[in-house]
Amino acid sequence: MVLTLVIAPLLFVALAGVLQLGALRVAVARVRAAADLATLVAVNDQDDAELARSGSLRLSADAAEVAREYFARELELSSSLLDGGADAIAAAADVAAYPSAPAYDTRTGARYERPTVRIAAQVPVRTPVFGALVLRPVTTIEVLSVSSPR
């Protein structure tokens, strides 16, 4: 009986921690997918005039804006997990479009051989159970997504 009373709180804490870790993993997967889909949508929209004229792939002029818009749309679908507005998080993201190749990314140092859209963002998500366990109530997920057309 005494042993049960001693161990039960520990098991409750372990259960809460496991659930919070699992929820955090879901949040990480969603944020990554949001950034991936946003960059994919942006690079799928090609400059048709340039494609018809020269046959080469070149990003649409509004690729960066499209990536940011869709990043916000995707994040909005998981708004209950976020610590902040989806629009504000997307607005603060570092979105870069490299319409022609080769190009160098000054943030990552990467060299792109094709037209590329890149999103680098910090996304704060709520982790209330961690907060109750004297850890951080908000965990920041860093995400980097890069897409190029083929």
Binding site: L11, L15, V18, Y70
Partner: protein
Amino acid sequence: MPLLFSILEFGSALERWLAQDAATVQAARYAGELGGDTPELRRFVGDELRTAGIDPDAVRVDVAPSRVGWREPVRVSLSSAYPVSIPFLFSTTVPLRSSAISRGEVNR
């Protein structure tokens, strides 16, 4: 004992949620490519879910709008109920919802 089962059951539910999320993202991407809700998309979703070990008949699929043109957003949502059973405590179902948005690529 119930607490240990809770860890296992909810862990399993979260794993299923992740798998459903992944299938939803792929489905949204494909819906944009096809221009909306088509039999090919439904087959694709079914295959993705089966690959993840999820019964497609137990998952509701919504595509809105059902037909999109070039540059129009299309949203795919998957929802299901995962049964959770904790011995000596309770049995319930946990609703799992996943959504993703893509953009129409078909120039009609």
